[in-house]
Amino acid sequence: MNNTYYGKLIFELSKKGRVGYSLPKNEFATYSTTQLPDHLLRKSGTILPEADEQTVVRHYTNMSNNNFGVDTGFYPLGSCTMKYNPKINEEMAALPAFSALHPTQPASTAQGALKVYYNVQQMLSELTGLSEFTLNPYAGAHGELTGLMIISTYHQKRGDLKRKKIIIPDSAHGTNPASAAVCGLEVVEVKSLENGRVDVEALKPLLSDEVAGMMMTNPNTLGLFETEIPEITRLVHECGGLMYYDGANLNPLLGVCRPGDMGFDVMHLNLHKTFSTPHGGGGPGAGPVGVRKGLEEYLPSPHVRKNDAGQFYLDYDANSLGSISSFLGNFTVILKAYAFLLSAGREHFKLMGPLAVLNANYIKEALKDVYELPIEGLCKHEFVFNGLKDKSTHVTTLDIAKRLLDYGFHAPTIYFPLLFHEALMIEPTETESKDTLDSFIATMRTIAEEAAQQPNVVKTAPHHTPTKRMDDVKAVKEPHLTYKSYTA
């Protein structure tokens, strides 16, 4: 990363007459779009830039230098599992034998691709204790929606049409209630106890024959294992509902505990979290969805299966909930995850959870004398501080996050979960070394000292990044959403 701000836009580099492409000579020049009826043709001008190849390459290279990635440094972003993204994955996923396949080509000519789907489905089933997986959902939230559609379909097929309520803890990721709303379900919130766990007593009165199911993240967004999970699943099943597992936080359980064994019926997981595929500045991800035995037929279409002759084929089950994607999801992301599954194998998956948990607890214990730890005890992959212990400095969580940028660290997730005012949610992942954690801990202590002695340095941070703090209010009130608004 380069701390000098680049800041140009491609439109500002455009010069009439330059080209950045080369194409073969048109072999069919007797045909032209000018032969189309005039009113079907585009009349407006365009802002598309005219730039030569090197100008384009330098522009995006310079732009990338103002970006911080996992390859730049420590990225302790809570609930995002920013682990190392292996490079072999990228190379394998880009092989032309995979990238040149058209989605409609016959299955007989894509057996290698379909085998990857099948193998990944099988391996995810073993890792989670569920029966069958679809890899079609494009992202975690898309997986949640698909999972909720499966739950709704299950009730609809049984003619149980009044189950429209979905119970969601107040600590849940925002996508949970949002996905429920897209799925046409009514959100019922259940409160957390002082110890950060779901309040089983508060849950009981919410259960009825109108409940479709309950969504849970375990460990929850405070990084705490929901120890009452056997009782919770029992109660929800008893009332006829299904249990949904939000797999955003699956990483710490690898090697130790499986959602299927906890009693969950449906789950999603994020290949771009637990299975090492890169986040790509916001995507593409993949949110495979798994179901327990008995729910397989409801999975979205198409679904990859293997016949008795060992051939892979696409199945369109009549009981399927329908299609949720054009085809089979983000194939390339699945290829990357497959490379990771092969590389980690039996021996290393079992250590992934424990090492991630060790890293999180280590940071927590080393900092809890200066940062406020609202809930004591073992955490799993992440934990939440409620700002500095010493509140008299008026240095906020936002200030701490911004000051961390100055020291070459990405900030933790801030102001989430909403249970605490100054939430600072830290997730280190298992790919970070003790040395990295020690330097992060030392920096967090330095910031705490700065907050006490020269709070202004922290309150006006960052100082050494490509840009200073942004005016978020201005961005909304005087919106510039395309370049045209700068030239108008």
């Binding site: 102001y415 978020d472 209010v473 961005a475 909304v476 009130k477």
Partner: protein, 125 residues
């Protein structure tokens, strides 16, 4: 300390209604605007919309938060505060002067269910 005005009716969700005859001026309280921070957008109903006490009629938005507006009263919207379309920050400047909608009350007895200044002040402590 947030300002609470005597003579208005308040809700626990931090809306107020100022009543003149059978007309109510509905807005958010000074406490609500201070909690939200810089208001950047007010989503208002349309004139002639029916609103119901206890139900949503719009939303106020700051940069990092958004809050639904719950109507303290039932009735018909007869005017909205158009000034807020271009200058939502007026809500921050004076929440009580800058009401959001003007409602013709259909059931003035609903006012009895609302909080008075003293009771509202207590919940803002």
């Amino acid at each position: 300390m947030s300002k609470v005005v005597e003579g208005l009716y308040y809700t626990e969700s931090h809306e107020y209604v100022k009543v003149e005859g059978n007309i109510g001026y509905v807005g958010i309280t000074d406490y609500a605007q201070s909690q939200l921070g810089n208001v950047v957008y007010v989503d208002m109903p349309e004139v002639d919309d029916e609103v119901t006490a206890g139900e949503e009629f719009g939303a106020v938005e700051s940069v990092k938060a958004a809050s639904d507006l719950i109507s303290p009263v039932s009735g018909t919207v007869i005017e909205i505060n158009e000034a807020l379309e271009d200058a939502p920050e007026l809500v921050n400047e004076d929440a009580y002067a800058n009401w959001i909608m003007k409602v013709e009350l259909s059931d003035p007895s609903e006012l009895e269910n609302l909080l008075d200044a003293k009771a509202y002040e207590a919940i803002c402590q």
